[in-house]
Structures are given as structure tokens and as C-alpha cells.
Chain length 241, copies 2
DNA sequence: GGCGCCGCTTGATCCAGGTCAAGGCGATGC
DNA sequence: GCATCGCCTTGACCTGGATCAAGCGGCGCC
């Protein structure tokens, strides 16, 4: 009983509830005993925007769950051209199971809270708890679906469609602050430069497209960050979802 | 013993050997008994280029292994713009575990041999053979890595770099016919239109870039299909790998 | 043989989005 | 208050790749 108490006193259960909320994340698949075991090796960190969590060249020795904030996954060409290849929202899992190096950089796009644990202890648990492996498999498949969706966007959509698609993505993922009959407000977790790197565009083009959406009365923007979409259906039509 | 004989007389072991060769595919993870079980529901098909194996809107009720040829995975916008989001070579696995519909179309790019089996029987085996689930998990992670690599290509590379990257991909995956000290020959499994849909370009641009590579003495092309790369290193440099 | 079709190449022109440059504006520091 | 900095917007211009159009060569068919 002491052990159970221990779990509930720790912050793990909160994490797990968050994971359950979207049927992703790691912890929901573990038994209380495994949670306690894992919590021994767990470190929660709060990091500033711009902090590199996993670097391109690193060997990976830890996994992490995103508890709050947004993490961008990037790839960079030798000459510096950069592409964001994924965005991780809470309670997504960060890491590349079954492989030593990642070929991808993970960087905090906003202030981020992560719950990190060593690769070895999670890998051990995967072999013990098949449900856990299944969860990770599911997340990989979801990320694959998303990556392929963005391949279509990057390969075939116009700048206007890309920006609308991006706003649609954030409207779905970022915790909406206000929502009522087709209207929705949220804070952009990314700078214009990040948005450009995500959409394969330049800062200027992103800015112009946002201006256009504003002038067309589809959105309002305050302080360059806070966006209100007046009609999500119209936005979807622009995005060619 | 009759059973074992049965396995070796069927074509399954060949398939399995092919799978093993690249540590992908499904069958290597099964016990002989499971193989026999699976082989009961297995149908081998030889299909023409252009045959749709899985359609966008379909509910998925079967999986398949690619035995020979190349299958293209495509996504299409309502107005017809198309993007190839993945190429499956033997012995890749086709299908989307844990989900009813695919959001992706799978179409034979060349003449293709596939080994198909009903989703239900494989799903049953996944729960019995953890190693099998693990294989599928690995393939999903590999495909994710590839998809993200192509996101970088689609978002940030020039037409010249994209075409070089594509040739490099085929040189690695398509069975090389001749290879010696940096020189390599192969048949393109895709038409110019397919290449364009893969690279987010137009037919004309692909054609012009191939002409440029030819004039620069990096490649030779016969009958629009057969390509010889004279210096793989040089090609890689053009591709900005 | 001749004809049409298909896949590909090549040339001429156009334009969406990139590049370059000049501010605007809020935050931070002196 | 003023200077600096980071982030964003806007305008002017340029260009890589799209679009439009013509033609070529192999192949199947009448």
C-alpha cells in the first residue's frame, strides 16, 4: 500500500491521465509496479524554447514524453536549409526505439515540460509489457500517416493552401482557448521562421499569406501570436483538406 | 514431418528467405506451424502495372507482401494533384495494422507479384507471435524515417537535387544489374510522370533534369528506362544527401 | 505501309514564390 | 528618453520551375 501511495503522490499519475486522454504516450500501458520502477529513473525537465533535446548526431540514450509545450523535429541540409518533419504535442512520445542514432534533431519550439527516462529501462519494459510496445507501434503508425499527409502538402499544395493547412493543424492540436460554432482561438506555438521551415516556404511568403487570410476576413491575429479563426469550414476549404 | 514437407514444397519459404534478406517482411517471424496456418489463407497474385491494390476509400481487409516489382503509395487532392508518398520494394509489407481505412492508395508501378492474406488471420498471429508485431513495428519506423527524409527533399531541395536523390534511391533499392567501382546500372521502375509525382515536380522538369545529368556526363539513359550512373559519389553530391 | 497513341523531350513564355531591402513595433537595457 | 535587438510586415524585383505547345520515336493495329 505504501507503494501505491507513492505512485499517487508522484506526478506520474497526472502524466498517465494525460496520456490516456489521447490514447498515446507511454505510461498508460504500464502496471502500477512498472510505473514505480520507471519513476525511479524518471526526470522531469522544464526547458526554454530553442533547447535541443536530441541532436542529429547524438546517440540516443533516453526517451521522453512531452507533458506540455511543442517540440519540433527537424532535418537540416549541409548548407543550412532546414525542414521541420514533425511536431510533437503533449502527450507524444519522443525517441526512436530499436536504433542508436536518430538522424533527426528535436528542439523545443515553445517552453516545454518533458518527462525523460533512460532508453535501457524503457526498452526492458517493452519486452515485459507487450501493451507498451503496441502503444509505441501505434504512435509510429500515426506519425507515419501524418508525415505522408505533409508529403502531399509539401509536394503539391500552393503556399496559400499550406498556410491554411498549418493553421488547421494547430487549431486541432493546440489546446483551443475558445471554441464556438466554427470559431476557434489559439496561440501559435511557432514563429514565422518555424512555420516557414515546416511548410517549405520563406518567412515572407508565410507572412503574406497570413495577411491575405486576415484581409479576406477568415482570421484575426493579435500580437503576431494569438489567432482567431472565424470559420473553420472556410479554412478547411482553403487548405484543401 | 508431412507438415514440414508441405512448407518446403509451397512457395512460402522462398518468400521468407526474401524477407530475411533485408530483415523486413512478415514471414521470418513466424513458426513453421504458423506459416502453414497462414499459407492456408494466402493468395499469390501477379498484377499488371497500374493495378490498384488498395484504394483510398476502401476499408482494408487484407495485407500483402511485395515479392517482386515496385508498388507506389499515393495520395491525391480533390482536384487531382497527386503525390507519391512511398515506394514499396520486395520484401516490403503493405497494409495499415490497427486501422480500418488507409487514406492511401497502393498501386502497382511495375509488374508486381504480391502475396496477400486476410487481415484477420495476420492480426490473430500478431497477438500470438510478439516477434511478428516487432517486425511490423520496425517496418513502420523505417518507413517513418524515409517519409521524413522525403519531407526534407520536398520542402527544401531544388529540382536538380530531387532528381539526383531519386536516382540514388533507385540505385540503392532496385536490384542493381551491374556494379563496379562507383558505376551502377538499373532499370527505372517508374515513368516520368510517376517520378514527377514522387518528387513534387512536373514531367517536363524531371525530363530536363535528366537531360542535364546526361549532358554533364553523370549518367547514360537507354530506351528511357535503363540508367547507368557513372559515379555514384558525384551523384550523391548533386543530391545533397 | 500508314496511322494513332503513348511516353518522352525540347523550346517559349509565364508566374508563384524566392530574394533583397526597407521599415514597423514591442521588449529590453542603459 | 533613446538605442538596440528580435520578430514581423511590406514592397520591388528576380528566377526556378510550371505551363503551353510542338515534335519525335517506338509500338500496336488496321
Amino acid at each position: 500500500m505504501a507503494i501505491r501511495q507513492d505512485i499517487h503522490n508522484s506526478e506520474i499519475p497526472a502524466l498517465c491521465r494525460a496520456c490516456e486522454a489521447r490514447h498515446r504516450g507511454v505510461c498508460g500501458a504500464l502496471t502500477p509496479e512498472q510505473l514505480v520502477e520507471l519513476s525511479r529513473h524518471t526526470t522531469k525537465r522544464k526547458v526554454e524554447p530553442g533547447t535541443v533535446l536530441v541532436s542529429d548526431s547524438d546517440t540516443i540514450d533516453s526517451y521522453a514524453n512531452v507533458l506540455a509545450g511543442v517540440v519540433k523535429l527537424t532535418k537540416t541540409l549541409p548548407d543550412g536549409r532546414q525542414q521541420i518533419v514533425g511536431l510533437q504535442f503533449a502527450p507524444d512520445f519522443i525517441g526512436r526505439p530499436f536504433k542508436q542514432e536518430s538522424s533527426i534533431t528535436a528542439e523545443a519550439a515553445t517552453a516545454v515540460r518533458v518527462c525523460a527516462f533512460p532508453k535501457t529501462s524503457l526498452d526492458r519494459m517493452i519486452s515485459q509489457a507487450p501493451e507498451l510496445g503496441h502503444r509505441l507501434h501505434l504512435q509510429a503508425l500515426n506519425e507515419l500517416d501524418e508525415a505522408r499527409y505533409w508529403m502531399l502538402t509539401l509536394g503539391r499544395k500552393t503556399a496559400a493552401e499550406r498556410v491554411a493547412s498549418f493553421l488547421h493543424l494547430i487549431a486541432r492540436h493546440g489546446d483551443p482557448e475558445a471554441e464556438s460554432e466554427g470559431e476557434i482561438s489559439f496561440d501559435l506555438p511557432l514563429t514565422r521562421a518555424d512555420i516557414a521551415d515546416f511548410l517549405g516556404l520563406t518567412i515572407e511568403t508565410v507572412s503574406r499569406q497570413l495577411t491575405k487570410l486576415r484581409k479576406d476576413g477568415l482570421i484575426a491575429v493579435e500580437n503576431n501570436r494569438h489567432v482567431t479563426v472565424f470559420d473553420v469550414d472556410k479554412l478547411e476549404r482553403r487548405a484543401n483538406i
